[in-house]
Symmetry: C2
C-alpha cells in the first residue's frame, strides 16, 4: 500500500480525554476516531491490525475444531427472560423495544442465542460435541466508558460456545480452547499468562483468564517463578502457614483508650506495636445477613474469597447504621468480642492467634491481649483463606517465590456446566435413549481490546512498537526522494519487490520532509523500516532500522531481497522469544 | 472440510413461514436459522458463502481505490438531527436511549457517521478524493420482514462513501464504483443488469441499481435488446411517440349514462370501445395540493414520474372525501372537465388527443367526444411522461425493442451531491484557499441479500445450484464407503489431494446411506460432485457430476488430479458465460 492512497491521519497531539497510552497512540497514529462516548471508528490502519488478529483467532479456533457462524446482534428479550438475565444483567444490557413494542436488547454476549439455536437442532448424542464461534461487534452500555479501546461500549469480540454430552467431554472442550488461546496469544507475539480465575456466581469447575502483561494493566496477577502456577489476585489461594506456636498470652482482654486513632497505622503508632499485631474486623452484608470478617492489620481482605466462603449471591460492606447497631459504637471501632453477629469468618493465618489488638466496640478504644480461640464463641467462628496473596507468600502449588504483575484481560475460558442448558432446557438423547442436559462452556477473546493491550505492552516515547503479527504493515519503505527521481524510482522498485514476495509493505511516497516520515514511521510502529535516501543509494545501500531495538544497519541494493530476508528473519526471531516472567507461555 | 466435523443441519421440509425459494432452500440446506422475525443466525455454510461474497466485494472495492474501515453500529441521535433524518427516517430507524438517557439509533446506513468523521479530519483539497467503505451488519426495523434473507431486519451490507472536491471528480468516483460493482457481480457468476434508477428526494444526477435477474424478483426492470439502455420500471423513460394526427372529432363533449360500469374494462365493454379510447383521471394529494393525473385507459400511471414532475416531497392518492369534494361525485367517476383542481398533468401520449372518453364527475356517467386541448383550461394543464413503460414501447435510447424482466436489487450507486455535506457543514479549502462543501456519493451492496438473490436465480427442484464463486465448497467428495475401507481410504485420499491443491473441497464421510448423500449434495448446491463408490473404483474410476447441468461422467483414479482439473475448468468456464438478456453485463 502506498501512503498517498492510505487514510492515516496522524496527529502531533493526543486528545485531551485520553488517559492511557494505547488510547493516546491509537488516536495520534491515525488508527481510531471517537464517534461518541465509548464508541469508535476503526480507520484503515486499525482495521488492518484487527483483521490480522482475527485471522489468527480464526485459524486457531478452527484448528481446535470450533466452527464459525454469525449470530445476530439484536436479540429477543424473551430468551433473556428464560435465563433470568433480563432482570439480573444490569444496565450494561442495552434494552429497547422495536416498532411493534416487543422487547429486544443489543447482545453483550450470546449464551441465550446459541443455546436457543442448539436446543432447536441437536437431538442426539451423535450430534455432539459441538463448538460454535463468531467474531462480532458487541455492545455493553458501560456506565463510564474509558481508556479508548480498553473499555469501550461497542467492541469486537470472539465468542465461542461448546456443547458436550458429559463432564469428560466438556473438560476436553475446555482444555482444547485453553490450548487454542495459548497458541493465539503466542502467535500474536504477546507476553501473557493464563491465570486461574474465579468462577463467581456462574459456578462450574474451571475458569482461566488470559492476561497480557503490561504495567498499565487494571488487573493484578500472581504467578510462580518456579512452576506453572498463576492466578488472578482475587482467585490466588494463600498457602496456609504452619500453625504459629506463638507465646500463650495469659493476660485477659483489656480495654485501652486509643483517642483519635482510627486506621490500623494510627492505632499501631499510638500503641507502639507492629500492624501485624492488630486484627481488622470488617462487617459485611451477605444476602441480608451481617457477617464479620477478620484479617491481620497489614493484610488486604479478598472479598471474592469471603463471598465464595459464604456462598453468597450479593456481598457488600455493611452500611454505617448497621455497623453502629451490631457494634454499639461508631464506625471504625468494630471488634469481634461481644459483636452481635451470628457468623465471624477469620483468615486462616489467625488460627491460634493470641495477644491480638482488636476494636473494642466502643468509640476511641481497642482491646488488648485478645486470644481469638479463648475470647470468641467458637460456634460463631470459622477460619478460611480470606486475604489477598502478597509477593512475600510462597507459591500455593510448589512453595516457590510468588511474583505479582499487572495485566490486561484479553481472554476468558469458562466451563459453564448446566447453567444455561437447564434454564433453557437444552437436552439431547444419550446412548441409552435418556434425555439429558448438555454441558456447556463459553470462551471469549476481546479482539479490539487485544489491539489496545498490545500497545500498552509494546510502545516507547516515539510511538507504537508493534509485534510483527499484529502490525498493519510489516515493513515501511520511506522514500526520501525530494526531487530526486532516482530515489523515488528505487524506493518504488524495492517496495514492489517486497509486495511481489508477499511481504506486507507500506511505501511512504508522500511529499513530506524526511523528519515527518521518520516520526510517522515510528509512531505507527511498523517493525521493519527501510530508508531509501540519495546519499546511501550512491553507495549502493539502503538504511534499515529495527523499530523495537532501534538498531540500524545497511542492506545492499544489489541482491536486496536476500539480504532483506536474512535481516527480517533475525528481527522476527528476536520478537518471538522476548521471554515471559516465570515459565514462559509465549515462547 | 469433513462433513462429520461440519454443522450442516439439512431438513426434509421447508419451514411453514417460508414463501420464497431462497428462504426455503437456505433453511432446508442448513445455512440459516431464524432467531426472531427478520433476524437470522448464519450457520457455517452460509458464513462460508458470505465470506466468499465479501472477499470479492473487498477486492474490487480496494482495486477501485476505496479503503476499508469499520464504523459503529450504534449511532448518536444528534448526528441524525443535524441532517433532519431523526424526524424523517420513519420507523425503520430503530431509536433508543442509553443508560444516561441519550438518544441513539442502530445504523441502517452511515451517511451521518461518515460525514461527521470526514468533516473532523479533512481540511484541504490535498486530502481528497477519499472513498471509505465497510462491510457491516445493519439494522432496519422493517414493518413486515419477509422472504428470509431478502428482506430481513438485520442484514450484512457493504456501504461506501466518496468525497470529492468538484463535480468532475465526483462523477469519476461514481463511475469507478459503477465499474467495481459490475466486476463484483460478474465475478460472482450472477446474471444481472445495471439499471438507471430514480434519485428520488435525495436529488443528484446519477443513480444506478444493480439487479440480479430472477423470475421471483420484486422489482421489474426494462432494458433494450439492441443497446446498453436499462432502467428500473419507475425510472424508465417512455420515448414520446410522433404526435398522433388523429381524426378531429368535431362533436362536442356529451354525457352518457354508464350504469354499473366502474373500471376501465367495464366502461369499455359497456360502450363497446377499446380501453385505449378511455382516459383515466387519478386524483393525488401532492404536499397538500390536490392534483389530477391523466393516462390512457390501458396504461399504468408511474407515481414516481408524477412525483418528480410535481417536485413533490409526499404524494398519495387523494382520500375518498377529497375526491367527492373536487368532483362532486362518488369515487370512480372523476374526469378532467369541470374538475375543481388547479393542476392537471396529462401523459405525453395524450397530447392532441380527441374523441376521448372520460369520467363525467357524476355518478354512473361518462363524457364522450372530449378534446383535451379544447375542453380543458390550458392554464391548468401540463403534459409529461407519466406512465410505465411496456414491452411494446421502443427503447428511449435507440428505438430498439424493449424487454421487461424481474430483478432483485443487490446494489445501488448514488451521487449524493451536497445533501449531507451542506447539512453537516463538511468543508475543505480549495486550491484558492476558499471554503467549499465536499461532493459526496454513496454506494451500497446487500451482501447477505446477494446470497438469497443468487439462489433465487440459481436453483432447481433438488436444491441450490450455486455459481462456483459463491458456493461454500467448490467440490463435494461423496464417500459411498459403507463398510468398505478401501472406498473410505480412496475418498479420503482424493479429498486430501484436492485440499493440498487449494481446491475448496467437502468430504461427505458421514455414516449415511448413498441416497441421503446424493440428496444433500444436490440440496447444498456444490457445483462439482465426485462420487467414490466400490464398483466404479474396481474399474479404476470415480463418477463425477456437474450440479448445474446434471451431466455425469467418470474420471480415472490414476492421474486423477489432471483429469479433474480439465473437467473442472470446463464446468467453470461454462458458468461464466451463461449469457444475459440484452448486451451482456456479466459476460
Amino acid at each position: 500500500m502506498k501512503m498517498t492512497a492510505l487514510y492515516v491521519p496522524t496527529l502531533k497531539e493526543a486528545p485531551g480525554d485520553a488517559e492511557v497510552v494505547s488510547h493516546k497512540l491509537l488516536v495520534r497514529a491515525g488508527f481510531i476516531r471517537k464517534l461518541t462516548s465509548g464508541i469508535y471508528v476503526y480507520l484503515p490502519m486499525a482495521w488492518r491490525a484487527l483483521n490480522k488478529i482475527s485471522a489468527v483467532v480464526r485459524e486457531e479456533m478452527t484448528r481446535a475444531g470450533a466452527q464459525e457462524i454469525l449470530m445476530p446482534m439484536v436479540q429477543p428479550g424473551d430468551l433473556w427472560k428464560e435465563t433470568g438475565r433480563w432482570e439480573f444483567y444490569g444496565k450494561e444490557l442495552l434494552r429497547f423495544k422495536d416498532r411493534h413494542d416487543r422487547d429486544y436488547c443489543l447482545g453483550p454476549t450470546h449464551e441465550e442465542v446459541v443455546t436457543d439455536l442448539v436446543r432447536g437442532e441437536v437431538k442426539s448424542y451423535r450430534q455432539l460435541p459441538l463448538n460454535l464461534f463468531q467474531i462480532q461487534t458487541k455492545f455493553r452500555d458501560e456506565i463510564r466508558p474509558r481508556f479508548g479501546l480498553m473499555r469501550g461500549r461497542e467492541f469486537i469480540m470472539k465468542d465461542a460456545y461448546s456443547f458436550d454430552t458429559n463432564e469428560e467431554g466438556a473438560d476436553k472442550s475446555y482444555w482444547a480452547m485453553h490450548g487454542a488461546y495459548t497458541r493465539i496469544f503466542s502467535r500474536l507475539g504477546l507476553k501473557f499468562r493464563a491465570v486461574e480465575a474465579d468462577t463467581g456466581s456462574i459456578g462450574g469447575n474451571f475458569s482461566h483468564e488470559f492476561m497480557v502483561l503490561a504495567d498499565t494493566g487494571e488487573d493484578t496477577i500472581a504467578f510462580c517463578d518456579a512452576c506453572e502456577w498463576a492466578a488472578n489476585l482475587e482467585k490466588a489461594q494463600v498457602k496456609p502457614a504452619a500453625a504459629a506456636a506463638g507465646d500463650k498470652d495469659a493476660a485477659p482482654a483489656e480495654v485501652v483508650a486509643t483517642p483519635g486513632a482510627h486506621t490500623v497505622e494510627e492505632v499501631a503508632a499510638f500503641l507502639k506495636v507492629s500492624p501485624t499485631a492488630i486484627v481488622k474486623t470488617l462487617l459485611f452484608d451477605a444476602d441480608g445477613e451481617i457477617v464479620a470478617a477478620l484479617v491481620r492489620g497489614d493484610r488486604e481482605l479478598n472479598e471474592i474469597k469471603l463471598k465464595n466462603h459464604l456462598d453468597a449471591t450479593a456481598l457488600s460492606l455493611a452500611l454505617p447504621e448497621v455497623v453502629a447497631t451490631v457494634t454499639g459504637a461508631p464506625v471504625g471501632f468494630a471488634g469481634p468480642v461481644g459483636l452481635k453477629v451470628a457468623r465471624i469468618v477469620i483468615d486462616q493465618e489467625l488460627q491460634g492467634a493470641t495477644g491480638c489488638i482488636v476494636g473494642a466496640n466502643q468509640a476511641d478504644a481497642h482491646l488488648l491481649h485478645v486470644d481469638l480461640a479463648r475470647d470468641l464463641d467458637s460456634a460463631t467462628v470459622a477460619y478460611a483463606d480470606l486475604r489477598m496473596i502478597t509477593a512475600e507468600d510462597p507459591c500455593p502449588a510448589c512453595g516457590g517465590a510468588v511474583r505479582l504483575a499487572k495485566g490486561i484481560e484479553v481472554g476468558h475460558v469458562f466451563k459453564l456446566g448446566l447453567k444455561y442448558s437447564q434454564a433453557m432446557d437444552a437436552k439431547f438423547l444419550d446412548e441409552q435413549g435418556k434425555e439429558r442436559h448438555m454441558i456447556m462452556g463459553c470462551y471469549g477473546i476481546g479482539v479490539s481490546r487485544i489491539l489496545a493491550a498490545c500497545i500498552e505492552q509494546n510502545h516507547d516515547a516515539d510511538g507504537i512498537v508493534f509485534p510483527p503479527p499484529v502490525s498493519p504493515f510489516e515493513v515501511a519503505v520511506l522514500s526520501l526522494a525530494g526531487n530526486d527521481e532516482t530515489v523515488a524510482a528505487k524506493a518504488q522498485e524495492l517496495y514492489t519487490m517486497l509486495c511481489n514476495n508477499r511481504i506486507d509493505a507500506l511505501l511512504d511516497d508522500r511529499a513530506e520532509r524526511p523528519g515527518v516520515k521518520f516520526k510517522d514511521a515510528d509512531l505507527i510502529g511498523t517493525p521493519l523500516q527501510i530508508v531509501v535516501g540519495g546519499k546511501a543509494l550512491a553507495r549502493g545501500v539502503v538504511e534499515v532500522k529495527n523499530r523495537r531495538t532501534g538498531e540500524k544497519g545497511e542492506l545492499p541494493v544489489d541482491n536486496f531481497l536476500h539480504a532483506f530476508s536474512v535481516w527480517r528473519q533475525g528481527v522476527l526471531d528476536a520478537w518471538v522469544c522476548q521471554g515471559v516472567p516465570g515459565p514462559a507461555s509465549a515462547c
